[in-house]
């Protein structure tokens, strides 16, 4: 090689190395000391936390995040009874139109500032702007007024029995209390600061979007004195740090749990529970006893499901056992359910459930479908391919419909695609749809007001846009009912009417056992949220 070539080669290498070194210098050192492993819980939950504003979205992960950071006025305990949390005492006037609430002592935000009724009122207004139950309530509220720093009042136009329960409900969005500053953010936009009133603080420095979310114990939080039960009682943080790890792959998460790399896995695939049952280091526990209900939504705006007979056909066509078995395998974790309000809940009843005893009855289903005037037009069924239950359920629905001669077109996409398309009200062949599948929280379903999907207000309703005046009448009645017995009676009437006009079809109810290392104890059983106070590692 000539000397000239050799020199230029050396120069090339030198400049290359220098450039590489400059580019490679990370320039960041995490000098922050992490708490010891025994005081840190690493948990893999059912999904990624994409929105950090738990009021703005109904996503459950955001609700879990909210529960870490924020406190609520009321919370349900392990028996699903509403108990006071931030409220010390409350009462109603004789005419039941003025409700007075007094906050308990010592409530502070994580930055040390005092929590007053002004913060509460602002939070309530923002929550009500986004939440279905909140909106239903606010129609009957003439004002929410501050009496003093610790006391506020609801002034109603008419008695509203559901008030306290609404404030403590676990269907999303929960009524989390934030600083007035954040609560005054436009309800159509998301908050950008995360100062909370709850047992943990959000460690933004250590958090990595899409990878992990870090929560530290809030030293400024004053828990109640009662023992913790559900979302009620004292929220005592017994560890220093909680990390939500985002693991998209269930195999990986499961293997990580078995290897001790994580402590808690919220949704292990039920088929694989067997291999966990044999592992002496792991415990399985169902924390959400009301589980979830598979939900088939039909589009009331376009044929064939704008006709009640076509909808009735679906009631007789589908076998809930198939849907449950396909995804959840083990009968220990699922059941069929005919009640419009879910099963294993106070509102469960058996009104108008004759169809359930007969289903599946393909012949009858075919009859109903023909009666509706269906002539073989394509039925557009949306399928979310990246969520096991939804993917399997769509295959089964398509198969069942085809077996009675219906023409089914399956439109597959990821869940994002389904979310986009279900909002389209145009006819199916112009970008709309006829059927889609999702699920709902069992406890939320048991509440005719809290679950947006129970509203039958036509074009203003949830996707599917069911329409029935009697349904709405009865829902209003339910909200105003005072006693449990009265509520249950109205629920019967609601259901009697519902299975006549068929707003939707249930695909079965299941519970999902969580899996955790044996040394992690103290997890609280409650629907809608997985709380991490009270949890500790031995």
């Amino acid at each position: 090689m000539t000397r000239r070539a050799a020199t230029s080669r050396r120069k090339f290498l030198q400049t290359g190395l220098a450039a590489g070194a400059a580019a490679a210098a990370p320039g960041r050192l995490t000098a922050q000391s992490a708490p010891p492993a025994a005081k840190t819980i690493r948990a893999v939950m059912h999904g990624d936390l994409t929105v950090l504003d738990p009021i703005w979205t109904t996503a459950n992960m955001s609700a879990y995040h909210g529960a870490m950071l924020y406190d609520t006025l009321f919370g349900i305990d392990a028996n699903l009874d509403t108990k006071p949390q931030m409220v010390a005492k409350w009462g109603a006037s004789d005419d039941k139109k003025t409700w007075t609430f007094e906050l308990r002592d010592g409530l502070k935000f994580s930055d040390g500032s005092a929590l007053t009724s002004e913060d509460v009122i602002a939070s309530l207004r923002r929550w009500a702007a986004r939440d279905g139950a909140g909106q239903h309530m606010m129609q009957r509220v003439s004002d929410i007024a501050k009496k003093d720093d610790k006391t506020f009042q609801f002034i109603l136009k008419e008695p509203y029995g559901y008030l306290v329960d609404a404030l403590g409900k676990t269907s999303t969005p929960l009524c989390y209390i934030m600083r007035k500053k954040e609560a005054e953010t436009n309800p159509m936009e998301k908050i950008t600061a995360y100062v909370g009133s709850g047992p943990f603080t959000f460690n933004e420095n250590e958090t990595r979007q899409g990878v992990r979310y870090v929560y530290d114990r809030n030293p400024n939080y004053v828990p109640r004195s009662e023992p913790a039960s559900g979302l009620a009682g004292g929220k005592v943080a017994k560890v220093d740090r909680i990390i939500f790890e985002n693991m998209a792959d269930s195999q990986t998460a499961l293997a990580a749990l078995q290897a001790g790399e994580i402590d808690f896995y919220e949704t292990p695939p039920i088929d694989l529970i067997g291999q966990l049952e044999g592992d002496s280091n792991l415990t399985l526990e169902v924390l959400n006893k009301t589980g979830n209900i598979g939900w088939l939504r039909m589009n009331f705006l376009h044929p064939p499901f704008n006709n009640v007979d076509a909808r009735r056909a679906m009631l007789y066509l589908l076998d809930q056992e198939d849907f449950m078995k396909a995804t959840f395998g083990n009968p220990k974790y699922y059941r069929k359910c005919a009640s419009n309000f879910g099963c294993a809940v106070p509102m469960e009843n058996d009104a108008n459930t004759g169809w359930f005893k007969e289903a599946p009855n393909p012949a009858k289903a075919k009859e109903f479908l023909q009666k509706s005037g269906y002539k073989g037009e394509p039925i557009l069924l949306m399928q979310a391919t990246n969520i096991d239950f939804m993917r399997n359920a769509a295959d089964l629905v398509a198969g069942a419909l085809r077996s009675i001669g219906a023409n089914v077109q399956v439109a597959s996409s990821d869940w994002g695609g389904v979310v986009n398309r279900r909002a389209v009200k145009a006819p199916p062949d112009q970008g709309g749809w006829n059927l889609f599948i999702t699920w709902a929280d069992g406890n939320a379903v048991s509440n005719p007001i809290a679950l947006a999907g129970h509203a039958a207000t036509g074009e203003k309703a949830w996707f599917g846009w069911p329409s029935d005046a009697k349904n709405e009448e009865l829902r209003d009645k339910w909200a105003l009912a005072a006693s449990l017995a009265e509520k249950q009676q109205i629920a019967r009437e609601l259901q009697e009417n519902a299975w006549n006009f068929v707003p939707h079809v249930w695909l079965g109810q299941w519970v999902a056992p969580t899996a955790r290392r044996k040394n992690l104890t103290g997890l609280l059983a409650v629907p809608g949220v997985v709380p991490f106070w009270n949890a500790q590692k031995a």
Partner: protein
């Protein structure tokens, strides 16, 4: 040479501009957008429409593109629609696992593959040669995630030699960093070992057949130096070419490996962004990847000047 580099860099900018246009059109001409996903489950169509307008998605396309292009040219990759974190920050947070994985995979693949290829070429026609070639074809016939799961099953779950998943930054120690990358690199690298080994073998065969190699052998030059110093260097050009192509393909393979082994890298960032229709992230990351690809091509071309003195720009 300098003129060549400048010309190539200019053409790089043009290419990246084209990439920007491609991706922008792909995203914005496709049905669906982040508005409905952002709005959440209980949103009404009016709310969804309001979000769409606030995100600027209802403006004419050229306006939206212009806005984005101007921001990118001034160094601003935008802000993630979902998390409100600047795209550049997200990328900076997650680039190290991807780089680490790419680095270890390339090192592993090149070492194994060149050794195998040289060996096969040297023993051309023998059983060893055939074996190496068959194994290499098998190597790029099996999907990465299948290899990944098998490796996890054998080495992480059954034998407990290596961790199942996760990533430890280099700052926390060389061995913890390395041990988390062994299985992913193997899974990802298998296909590249195969590819590089084959090209190495072919290129070596070409060179070994040349007259000057026969002369060297006749002169009594020992096998080792002959193979590695003389032959390999001459065979360098096609080998480096394919390594360059491999690096480009690596960018794609990284996406799956990061999902299987839960590495918090850019591959997963962009796949998640696609499912959420988080346009700024998708656009920013793809632009970044294409920039890397073009620069690597340039480096590969420049490296030819080192390997083959006949090549001059």
């Amino acid at each position: 040479m300098l003129a060549f580099i400048i010309r190539r860099l200019l053409s790089t900018l043009l290419v990246m501009g084209l990439v920007g246009v491609f991706i922008f059109l792909l995203l914005h001409l496709s049905p669906g957008d982040p508005a409905a996903i952002i709005a959440g489950d209980n949103a009404t169509p009016t709310q969804i429409e309001a979000i769409r307008t606030s995100l600027g998605l209802n403006d004419p396309l050229h306006l939206q593109f212009g806005r984005w292009a101007v921001r990118v040219l001034s160094g601003d990759l935008g802000i993630s629609i979902f998390s409100n974190v600047p795209v550049a920050t997200l990328i900076a947070q997650r680039v190290w696992p991807t780089l680490s994985l790419a680095f270890t995979t390339i090192v592993l693949a090149v070492l194994l593959a060149v050794a195998a290829g040289v060996l096969a070429a040297w023993k051309a026609g023998s059983f060893l040669d055939r074996l190496v070639m068959i194994l290499s074809v098998v190597g790029f016939s099996v999907p990465v995630f299948v290899v990944g799961y098998l490796l996890i099953y054998v080495f992480a779950i059954t034998l407990r030699w290596l961790p199942v998943q996760g990533y430890t930054p280099l700052a926390e120690g060389l061995w913890p960093w390395a041990r988390h990358l062994i299985l992913p690199s193997l899974a990802l690298g298998l296909a590249y070992v195969a590819l590089i080994a084959r090209i190495t073998r072919t290129a070596m065969l070409d060179v070994l057949a040349e007259d000057y190699m026969r002369t060297a052998r006749a002169k009594g030059v020992a096998t080792g130096p002959m193979l590695f110093k003389h032959a390999l260097k001459s065979a360098g050009v096609p080998i480096v070419t394919v390594v360059g192509i491999g690096i480009a393909l690596l960018i794609g393979g990284v996406v799956i490996t990061e999902t299987v082994f839960n590495l918090p890298g850019i591959g997963r960032l962009v796949v998640d962004a696609i499912s959420k229709r988080d346009y700024p992230i998708i656009q920013g990351v793809i632009l970044l990847f294409s920039g890397v690809y073009v620069i690597i091509n340039l480096l590969v071309d420049l490296s030819y000047t080192l390997l083959d003195p006949r090549i001059r720009y």
